[in-house]
């Protein structure tokens, strides 16, 4: 029997029982869809968390205020509800003494109304130094990123995102204009060309100002974090130790900061979320398995319903193998088309979720589609095997005697 004929015969019996076929298609497609959706969520979460680190340059060391223990509970200070000591611009300046550090970029974050002419809107404000541009690998579309700004010098300048430019300045030229941010004024010196997100904030919507100007603006000396770039990878561990030593000395001997290497953080986040995604995928695969058992049950019923047909096929010369191939093909055809339906559903749902919730990431990984398709096919084949065998083993005399 030719393969195309096998397909034709299997297909013709599938469309003969449309309800049965639809139910099995739905069962399988739900399984595959679950795999796609859950892995999309897991992968999206991984991407969301790691994107912040991914966009950064290499050889970066990040200093975060507060001691984050990865093992056990916190010290007495945590129980007493004491906030960690602030990380300040002065702390950042003190790190200059480590000569293997190439660049230091402190970060202050906040939100302030920004206005120009008659227009005003609330914008996320980042206070930093020109080094931040390199660390984040941003491109300028026009002008300079905080010219003349250092850790201890804060001329009133700022760089703005593309959307801020469009909404506040419209068609007029933004460079050289005075932008009011909170109760300060600063001259726009550059437009940031990049898009995407930094520290969870849309780059197109931000205003970047000198770090000391922003701490004054928010009337709060604490830094969100300090990013230091090492001359070379080989110095990174030494720099880490030096930073802890210097800050500890400045903070009355208390080690109240966390220093992490960007590459190790990224690697461990990657790991955690890969495990999470795999776990979600395995949970979803259970529904695929259930769909497989359903296919087996329905095929078993089909074999007894179609006894006389099987008997007839034997009478007109079908070999046992051909009978079992026929039922097996039906099972695989069912699970295969169910899987494809599930892939289509899963991907269109993630696409529509993406448009409804643009701030969340849904990234169905390619491997999930491939694996779920194969698992579905294998399920169909394995669970189709038992009914197919039973059909092949039917005694033609008994099968034919059953009246239609």
């Amino acid at each position: 029997m030719k393969f195309s004929d096998l397909l034709f015969l299997a297909f013709s019996s599938l469309i003969r029982y449309p309800l049965r076929t639809m139910m099995l298609l739905i069962a399988t497609s739900i399984g595959v869809m679950a795999v796609i959706l859950l892995t999309a969520v897991g992968e999206g979460a991984r991407d969301y968390i790691t994107s912040e680190f991914r966009d950064l340059g290499t050889n970066l060391i990040i200093v975060i205020p507060g001691k984050h223990e990865t093992s056990g509970g916190g010290g007495p200070a945590d129980f007493a509800g004491l906030a960690p000591r602030d990380l300040t611009v002065e702390d950042a300046i003190s790190l200059r003494q480590i000569d293997t550090i190439k660049a230091i970029a402190p970060i202050v974050l906040g939100e302030m109304p920004a206005s120009f002419g008659g227009f005003e809107r609330d914008v996320p404000v980042i206070g930093t130094t020109p080094e931040f541009l390199r660390v984040r690998r941003w491109e300028m579309r026009e002008g300079d990123f905080l010219p003349g700004v250092t850790l201890d010098r804060s001329p009133p300048v700022c760089a703005i995102g593309k959307e801020v430019e469009k909404e506040l300045f419209g068609t007029s030229r933004a460079i050289g204009q005075w932008l009011r941010v909170g109760d300060r004024r600063c001259r726009v010196t550059g437009i940031i060309d990049s898009d995407g997100r930094a520290i969870g904030i849309d780059v197109q919507k931000i205003v970047v100002m000198p770090v000391s100007l922003v701490t004054a603006l928010f009337n709060r000396p604490s830094l969100f974090r300090i990013i230091a770039e090492a001359e070379s990878r080989i110095y990174m561990d030494q720099i880490k130790k030096d930073i802890i030593r210097i800050i500890k000395k400045r903070h009355q001997g208390k080690e109240d900061i966390t220093v992490v290497r960007q590459d190790t953080v990224m690697a461990s986040f990657d790991n955690i979320f890969n495990v999470l995604t795999m776990a979600l995928a395995s949970i979803a695969s259970i529904s695929l398995f259930v769909a497989g058992i359903l296919i087996m049950n329905v095929m078993l019923v089909a074999v007894s319903q179609r006894q006389s047909e099987i008997g007839l096929l034997k009478a007109i010369g079908a070999k046992n193998r051909q009978i079992s191939n026929l039922f097996l093909t039906e099972a695989i055809l069912l699970s295969g088309s169910g899987a494809i339906l599930g892939l289509i559903l899963g991907h269109s749902i993630t696409l529509s979720l993406k448009t409804i919730f643009p701030t969340y990431n849904f990234l169905p990984p390619t491997w999930a589609s491939v694996v779920s398709l194969f698992v579905a096919l294998i399920c169909g084949a394995l669970f189709g095997l038992i009914p197919a065998r039973r059909a092949a083993k039917l005694d033609p005399v008994i099968a034919l005697s059953g009246e239609k």
Partner: protein, 227 residues
């Protein structure tokens, strides 16, 4: 071409052994027209099933075209059924989801013949039973007589040597029944060996030879003159 030697078929029913066929000796030659008659349960369908290699004897030999079938495995028997034997049933046994032409085509699909050859032979077989204009109809769109004609076309499409018919007119009215009988008799005149299980004495009278069974034994086996 068909020889049965001391052939028996027993069934276990509960703790009783039923002799459906009891030490039968029979030979049928090429081109013969044989009707097997008898009351229900006399073993005539079992005999037909054994002749068609759907069932195997408990003891004794069945020699078909010089080959002893007791030495054959499942696949070899399937092969013989495919190439040498055609079946017609009382309840037609057409596959309802397929058209008349597709039903006729199935034996050739199973045998793995090419599309071109299939189309040719299916058309020929349908023409032989006068159903060319109904080839695209499904069984439910056909009358009983037409369905049985489709089944006959299916049984002859592989050009077998023997045609086995189990009460072919049992589900038909007398008009279409006699049409069917005439059709298979024509096939017999073309050289096809015809073995027919029937209740109908009229059909029995038309055959060359009548075999009467009772309790698994042949009680009457006679060639009759003239049709």
């Amino acid at each position: 071409m068909i020889q049965l030697k001391n052939l028996s078929r027993e069934f276990q029913v509960g703790n009783q052994v039923v002799h459906a066929l009891d030490a039968i000796d029979l030979s049928i030659s090429q081109g013969d027209y044989v009707s097997i008659m008898g009351v229900s349960g006399c073993g005539k369908t079992t005999l037909l099933n054994i002749l068609g290699l759907l069932d195997t004897p408990s003891s004794g030999d069945y020699i078909l075209s010089g080959i002893n079938t007791s030495e054959m495995n499942d696949d070899e028997m399937a092969n013989i059924r495919s190439t040498k034997i055609g079946f017609i049933f009382q309840s037609f046994h057409l596959i309802p989801r397929l058209t008349a032409a597709e039903n006729v085509e199935i034996p050739m699909i199973l045998a793995g013949h090419s599309q071109k050859m299939r189309a040719e032979k299916v058309a020929k077989a349908l023409a032989r039973v006068n159903l060319t204009d109904r080839s695209d109809h499904r069984p439910e769109q056909l009358s009983g007589g037409e369905r049985q004609r489709v089944a006959i076309a299916r049984s002859i499409v592989m050009e077998p040597e023997v045609l086995l018919a189990d009460e072919p007119t049992g589900n038909l009215d007398s008009t279409s029944g006699s049409e069917i009988v005439e059709l298979i008799e024509e096939l017999n005149q073309g050289g096809l060996t015809l073995i027919l299980v029937t209740h109908d004495k009229e059909i029995g009278k038309r055959s060359n030879r009548v075999i009467r069974l009772l309790d698994g034994k042949i009680i009457f086996n006679q060639t009759q003159q003239g049709i």
